[in-house]
Each structure stands twice: as structure tokens, then as C-alpha cells.
Symmetry: C2
Subunit: 144 residues, 2 copies
DNA sequence: TTGCGTGCAAAGGTTTTGCATGGCA
DNA sequence: TGCCATGCAAAACCTTTGCACGCAA
């Protein structure tokens, strides 16, 4: 759509970073640090502006895990169909870890919600909160 | 648990507000304005501190609509057993409506997550985002 | 040359925290 | 009296925006 007509060093380096971290979670801060440590100049505003546009183009997913931590991004590859990959996010309330879950059974939730309740689930936005296996064990050891 | 040992005017008035708005969603700002308009003093910090504790006690649900807007809260009633009521929340990204859903099939998700993935879902915290039936129809009419 | 891209710094908004005071028990 | 609760203001936090400059085409 409104892809940037100009090709810049910053844009290429950012895309290069995204390609290297395809399918992983990262924050804007992660990107900033990555380039800061390499002593490559890439302003924060520039990072946010690029990420925002890529989200709009559908090749980058943005997750709001918690209102007090930074938003998470995930590069899904080229700018094709946004939802070709179906996975969900589990956020542990104990240790704060984020679990990336691909599960057919969970995909059926979508179908069920749509068919029985007319609700079209947005897996990009939805985060399941709870306790991960480790934290659950720790909790039960200390007496729940 | 660590329920406030002291009973204060502010606490009672806040609880009274919550009772009046049980099942509705509101922000910390809504609460602040409510009391400001009545010229009842209730500091912002106090509001946040109470809301935070109630969330911890399980009688208040907190969810993030968007990282740039304020967090939404929903009072689920008294502070008895946190999970005696098994319902899920569907939040429409279109009209913002909040749907309370009681659905056995969704309850099975919990069982599945626990059994197959060791993850104990917290239905109080988890909100399903997506499009409600009405908004889905509107979206398809205007051309998706 | 044109005008978008960049980057610094400041603003934006929500939530938290420090600290002195007030009020419950 | 002892200690928690309160509230103001300032801080913290992530993200956006204003503006001047640089650079791609």
C-alpha cells in the first residue's frame, strides 16, 4: 500500500533484523538495543515508525501482553496473508514467561466460537493467562 | 488474605461504586471522575491501590484493551471463591462490547490446556478478543 | 531539487512510588 | 498509641510527535 518509496539504510537493516528473528518475539526495545550494541545508529522513533507500518501491512504481528510492559512483535515473513500461521499465546502470571503454542485443538476454539456464538476470535490479540507447568508445581509445593 | 484490616470511608465508597457497576466495564479514570463530580475526595493513587488489591483477590477482573488506553476493570461480585463462576469474556474490538460467555465447550479448553500443556488457565484474567456477530456483519457489508 | 526518512528531544497518557499526613482500631 | 491508608506530586514507563536536517530518487 503505502510502502516507503525510498530505500534507506535504516530500513534495510531493520528488515534484516526481522528476517533473522522471524517467528520470535521481541520488543521495540530489543531492536533498539541490538543496533545500539553494534553501534549502528537507528533512532527509536524510526524503529517505531517502521514497526507500525509493517503491522499495518500485515507482515508483523503486535501483541499487547500487559499494559505495563512493552508491546511484543513477531515477524511473520513477507507481506502475504497475515493469518496463515495459527498460534496462540499463553502468558504465565507467575514467572511472566510467554509461551508460543501451536495446537490444533485450540484452533477448534475459533471454529466453535464462530459457529456457535458468532464471534470471530482474533488470535493475534488474544492472550491466555494462567500458570505455566513450572509455576504450578512451585505453587503446589509451597502450599498452593 | 491480606484484606485491608482497616475500614475506611474511601474503601467503602469505592466498594459501593463497584457494587453499583457490577458486570460493567470501567476504567480507573471513570472511577476518579465519578467521585470528582460528586466532590468526594478519592485520590488517584488510592483508587489504583484498591483496584490492584481487588484484582489480586480475584473479585475484580482487569484487562487490556489497547496499550494506549486505560486498563478496563470489571467487578465480578464479592470476594468469595475466585473461580466459583465459570464464564469467559469476549471483547469485541469493533464496538467494544463485552460478552459474558458460559460455555461447556470452552471449559474443556481449560482441561485440555492443563492436561496436554500443563498450563492452568485463569478465566478471570483471560479475555478473548475478536469481532462480535453484529460487527462482523457490518464489516462484511462495507467490504470486510 | 523535491520531499520523504531520520533522529533528537519533548510531549503524551496511564500507572506507580515517595513521603508526610490523617484516621482506624 | 501504633500502624495502615490516604493523597499530592513527582517519577516511571512505553510510545508518539514536532521539527530541522540529511539523503534517496
Amino acid at each position: 500500500m503505502n510502502k516507503s518509496p525510498y530505500k534507506t539504510r535504516q530500513q534495510e537493516q531493520l528488515l534484516s533484523y526481522l528476517e533473522e528473528h522471524k517467528g520470535e518475539h521481541f520488543t521495540a526495545e530489543d531492536v533498539r538495543l541490538h543496533f545500539a550494541q553494534k553501534e549502528i545508529s537507528l533512532g527509536t522513533a524510526t524503529i517505531y515508525r517502521h514497526l507500525e507500518r509493517l503491522v499495518g501491512e500485515g507482515c508483523l504481528n503486535k501483541y499487547v501482553i500487559d499494559e505495563h510492559s512493552a508491546a511484543c512483535f513477531e515477524y511473520t515473513g513477507g507481506c502475504k496473508g497475515p493469518q496463515e500461521e495459527q498460534h496462540f499465546h499463553l502468558k504465565c502470571e507467575g514467572c511472566g514467561c510467554l509461551i508460543h503454542l501451536e495446537c490444533d485443538e485450540l484452533c477448534q476454539i475459533r471454529a466453535h466460537l464462530l459457529k456457535s456464538h458468532g464471534f470471530e476470535l482474533n488470535p493475534l490479540r488474544t492472550v491466555f493467562y494462567g500458570l505455566c507447568a513450572d509455576c504450578r508445581q512451585k505453587a503446589s509445593e509451597t502450599g498452593d
